[in-house]
């Protein structure tokens, strides 16, 4: 194999595996025939053509009807992930309130509404999507109203800040609504029930950075694996996107109106990175998955 052919074959990795299997040899033949004698490097024009063609082929595959189930399953997994984290936070707050009844760390939201979130999560894991959706929607409305109440705290009465906080509760509702409409529905593993307990344990740790570190390790794993399974890319993107939306809204509100930043721009940028990168990697890794 000549150096030019080897380089063209490397560029053909931009195409989905299925298309490479059928077209790579023919395309290489055409590329080599078009090359001038003694040429060792791919021409810029052909390289750009392969880049555009590869991305076009992958985007076509990603939007193919056979991929719809894959994306929906990713959204469902991401939604369950967000819901699991929120439920973990609720468990932590409930535990704190029980151990120290004189001081609530989150007095604005009544505990039955918070407990409803955990119940909604359990119902979703048990596959009772419709009931879970109803319970979660009621809880999300309750929490949004509670946060927006004038006596809940001066900064919380800001509508954009209320929205920033509510993103965490509304997004799982949207994710469940998506999966409700999906033809591909599978009962999630019961192991999902461990997520809130694990997350509450992480938050309970004395190191305030621990939750952030755990989330970034999760994003790292999702980034690494997303090329092989686009469902992970979508799921990770839903998780990162929720976090990013919440942070960005909080930053916009607090910095612009109250004069201080809730998060540094570097923190926001680090969360924005997986939000953008995960869908791109998912697109590049898009392929037909025979086992859903």
């Amino acid at each position: 194999m000549s150096p030019l052919e080897r380089r063209y074959r490397r560029l053909l990795l931009l195409y989905p595996a299925e298309q490479r299997a059928t077209d790579a040899d023919v395309m290489v033949g055409t590329l080599l025939e078009a090359a001038v004698s003694g040429q060792r490097l791919p021409s810029v024009r052909e390289a750009l053509g392969l880049l555009a063609g590869g991305l076009r082929a992958r985007s076509l595959l990603a939007t193919d009807s056979s991929m719809q189930g894959v994306w929906r399953e990713g959204v469902h997994t991401g939604g369950l992930g967000v819901l699991g984290l929120v439920s973990g936070g609720v468990l932590y707050i409930l535990a704190q309130d029980l151990t120290n009844p004189d001081f609530s760390i989150s007095p604005a939201v009544p505990w039955p509404i918070r407990a409803g979130l955990v119940i909604g999560f359990v119902l979703a894991v048990l596959g009772l999507a419709r009931t879970a959706l109803t319970v979660l929607a009621v809880c999300a409305i309750g929490i949004t109203v509670a946060i927006a109440a004038p006596d809940s705290g001066s900064r919380w009465s800001d509508p954009v800040y209320v929205l920033a906080q509510s993103v965490w509760y509304w997004l799982p509702v949207v994710a469940l609504a998506v999966i409700r409409r999906s033809a591909v529905r599978r009962r999630p593993s019961r192991l999902w029930l461990l997520l809130p307990i694990l997350w509450a344990t992480v938050i309970e740790g004395t190191d305030v950075m621990a939750p952030t570190v755990v989330l970034f390790v999760t994003f790292g794993l999702a980034l690494g694996l997303s090329f092989f399974d686009p469902r992970l890319a979508v799921a990770g993107s839903v998780l990162a996107g929720t976090w990013f939306a919440s942070m960005a809204l909080a930053v916009l509100t607090l910095a612009a109106r109250n004069g201080y930043a809730a998060y540094s721009s570097a923190e926001v940028a680090w969360v924005a990175l997986p939000t953008v990168l995960l869908p791109v990697l998912g697109l590049l890794g898009a392929r037909r998955l025979t086992r859903l």
Partner: protein, 108 residues
């Protein structure tokens, strides 16, 4: 119909052709205006095959390189004819407007 698609279909009017032959014929037909890259060519060919305008004819290996021949289908001929007629109509309409106007019209 995009220009590369049009010239690829037009190139195949000569009979079944393989990738590089399509590139060269398309370039000749367009007077050097359309220079297809392999990425553009195979993207267009795959799409045209899906749409039934083009079909794979046969494959052969020449000098160790695989060649796949493509041919125009009847639907492809119809689509090409329709597009050629549309372009001709458009060209005629534009030419008619470009003709120098008579002096009386121009001076009025």
């Amino acid at each position: 119909m995009h220009e590369p698609t049009y010239v690829v279909l037009a190139a195949l009017l000569e009979g079944p052709l393989y990738g590089y032959a399509i590139v060269k014929t398309a370039e000749e037909l367009s007077g050097g205006q359309v220079k297809l890259t392999a990425g553009t060519l195979y993207g267009a060919l795959n799409r045209l095959c899906r749409e039934g305008l083009v079909a794979e004819d046969h494959e052969e290996v020449v000098d160790g390189r695989k060649r796949r021949y493509y041919r125009l289908t009847e639907t492809g001929v119809e689509a090409l004819t329709s597009e050629a007629d549309r372009l001709a109509l458009l060209a005629d309409a534009v030419r008619a407007r470009l003709r120098p106007k008579s002096p009386s019209v121009a001076w009025s």
